[in-house]
């Protein structure tokens, strides 16, 4: 049997918040979460505010480490790989793409930044890589010389995407990136992600409550509540027969929204 691209095994995270001098409070943000993600597959993670979704995203992207548990990529434990390599393998697209760009730096430089940090390439190869990646996400070569404020919101999103993809990651994590997006931009992004998934075999983890988008892109949906996984099933099943109470309320509300008042 083929090893899944990503294996998450019993990861937990406990935060220690100090409350005054002697007291402190421990919060178990996620409790023994496990799942597998195959190549060219998409997993959506939904759940109430504070259910641990963003903590999970940040652990996956290597921004913090779990209190316990293992993450394996191609069967290799990420605790053993060096930090640099893992930051290239799993990349996160932030919640507000536009805010994550430096307004005083040309777009091309910003897309290249992770590559400069991570790899030794000749300038000409680097240039080629830049243009190829920009083409992939639907930007023009001339955009490399622009500053972020000269681009539209959707082009800026493409820039953050290009910046994540320049190091050829295998997994992209979207943390609520897609919730505040206009319909045409969202549709363009769906197409772009589908295409990249087909051509490069990338896997996606989508965090957030954009249900139309989840329905279109995700293969599986994982539902979290108070740090635990309460449901993990294929997308169609979740939409047809949600099991947990939280999921039922969410899906019924969604159906009512897109079908109109039931009168």
């Amino acid at each position: 049997m083929q090893t899944p691209l990503l294996q998450v095994k019993h990861i937990s995270k406990t935060y220690h918040n100090s409350k005054g001098w002697f007291r402190h409070e421990t919060v178990e943000a996620i409790k023994s979460v496990s799942f597998d993600l195959k190549r060219a597959h998409t997993l959506a993670v939904i759940g109430e505010a504070g259910s641990g979704k963003s903590t999970l995203a940040r652990i996956l992207a290597g921004e913090m480490s779990p209190s316990s548990g293992d993450i394996l990529l191609h069967g290799q434990n990420l605790n053993d790989t060096n930090q640099r390599q893992r930051c290239m393998d799993i990349r996160m697209i932030p919640q507000r793409p536009s805010l994550s760009l430096n307004p005083r730096l040309r777009v091309g430089m910003q897309i290249l930044a992770p590559l400069v940090q991570h790899r030794s390439l000749t300038p000409s190869l680097r240039q080629q890589k830049l243009y190829a990646t920009m083409r992939d996400v639907g930007l023009l070569e001339e955009h490399a010389d622009y500053y972020p404020n000269m681009l539209s919101a959707s082009q800026r999103l493409r820039v953050t995407l290009a910046r994540a993809m320049i190091v050829d990651p295998e997994v992209l994590v979207f943390d609520q990136t897609l919730s505040a997006m206009d319909i045409t931009m969202r549709a363009q992004l769906i197409n772009l992600l589908t295409m990249l998934q087909q051509s490069r075999g990338m896997a996606y983890i989508m965090i957030g409550h954009q249900l139309s988008m989840i329905r279109h892109l995700a293969d599986d949906v994982m539902v979290m509540q108070q740090g635990e996984v309460i449901e993990f099933r294929p997308t169609d099943e979740i939409f047809e027969s949600p099991a947990s109470e939280y999921t039922q309320r969410l899906i019924y509300a969604y159906n009512e929204l897109v079908q109109g008042p039931s009168s």
């Binding site: 919101a153 206009d182 319909i183 045409t184 139309s212 899906i251 509300a253 929204l257 897109v258």
Partner: protein
């Protein structure tokens, strides 16, 4: 009756680089008791229209129209303050991120009390007036579906969810018994379970209290099922308007057509049929039709800006609309051509 009657509303902004036209010849008629949607992408001018109606635009904006009437009153005959006061009585507006419109350091109960109309009931002794007003507050909260009014009234905004805050904004909005509610993306940051509560609340107010609603949003998917009529905006213009169901099922304008295609879900996972590119900025508008560079139906006539055309209860702004050939034929057969 026409509650709101706007013809060719133009909203311009003076900038050091010259005058920018953010909303151009925009028309909107809202009937008494109507649930109207205005759908457009970010930057299409939806919020400007809403704020112009309320008289809330600052003096760097120039607003003019061929007709700008509310409930039979000519808003252009009023000065800024009169306009604002008049609309403040007749209408109310709610926004995205309701918590940022509430005072963070005052209890909810106090804030709603302040929103109550200042009409002292002189037949009541002064100590009764206060309890009378408190009863009004709890009655308002009940109307927006909040049962545990005691707890809510004693809370501060940060202690409540966005959904609850939005309900409180709606309670304050209806305190004056307005005839129109302008809701500017009241739910766009909420998850489905909260969203539906706000939609249901607006629909209920609309039906029970004959409150007209202008619901501004950036997606057709939900507006499609909750509004009676819809106006689609692109780049500061109304590109199509009409009864929502007709607009969604038989769109005339290519832009509406693209939006409508996106919401007809296809069980097969595949590429969506979406327009390329993005909406141009107001500083770089194409000549002629503003959709031109992105439009699959563009042809040589389109270098000329299309005017709004009217066909029965619908309007559109395009030289080569979809779904019209048959319609024209039918209309001609029944002698109804305009």
């Amino acid at each position: 009756m026409n509650l709101l009657d706007i013809r060719n509303l133009t909203i311009e902004l003076e900038t050091p680089q010259g005058i920018i036209t953010a909303v151009e010849r925009f028309s909107l008629v809202v009937q008494d008791g109507e649930f109207r949607g205005i759908v457009g992408e970010s930057g299409s001018g939806k919020s400007l229209v809403g704020r112009a109606i309320m008289g809330l635009l600052s003096n760097k904006w120039r607003v003019r129209a061929d007709r700008f009437f509310f409930a039979g009153e000519d808003l252009q005959q009023m000065d800024v303050d009169e306009h604002r006061r008049f609309m403040g009585r007749e209408a109310a507006m709610i926004f995205q991120q309701p918590s940022s419109y509430l005072d963070p350091i005052a209890k909810i109960g106090e804030q709603i009390l302040e929103a109550l109309p200042q009409t002292p009931r002189l037949n009541l002794a002064f100590w009764r007036r206060n309890s009378d007003r408190l009863e009004k507050v709890s009655a308002l909260l009940h109307k927006v579906g909040i049962r545990d009014h005691k707890r809510i009234m004693a809370s501060y905004p940060h202690e409540l969810s966005e959904g609850l805050c939005q309900k409180i904004m709606i309670a304050m909005a209806i305190a004056n018994e307005p005839r129109l509610l302008i809701a500017d993306e009241p739910t766009s940051t909420m998850e489905a379970t909260t969203k539906i509560q706000i939609y249901k609340l607006m629909a209920k107010m609309n039906q029970l209290r004959k409150l007209s609603v202008v619901h501004i949003c950036n997606e057709l998917e939900t507006a499609a099922n909750w509004t009676d009529r819809v106006t689609i905006m692109y780049c500061g213009q109304s590109v199509e308007a009409g009864p929502t169901q007709q607009v969604v099922e038989q769109p005339l304008h290519p832009y509406t057509h693209a939006l409508a295609t996106l919401i007809k879900r296809d069980p097969q996972r595949q590429m969506l049929n979406v327009m390329p590119g993005t909406m141009p900025t107001l500083q770089h508008l194409p000549t002629g039709c503003r959709l031109g560079p992105r439009c699959p139906r563009a042809h040589k006539d389109c270098i000329e800006m299309p005017r709004s055309r009217y066909l029965r209860n619908r309007s559109y702004r395009c030289h080569a609309p979809f779904n019209l050939e048959e319609k024209h034929a039918n209309a001609a057969a029944s002698g109804q051509t305009h």
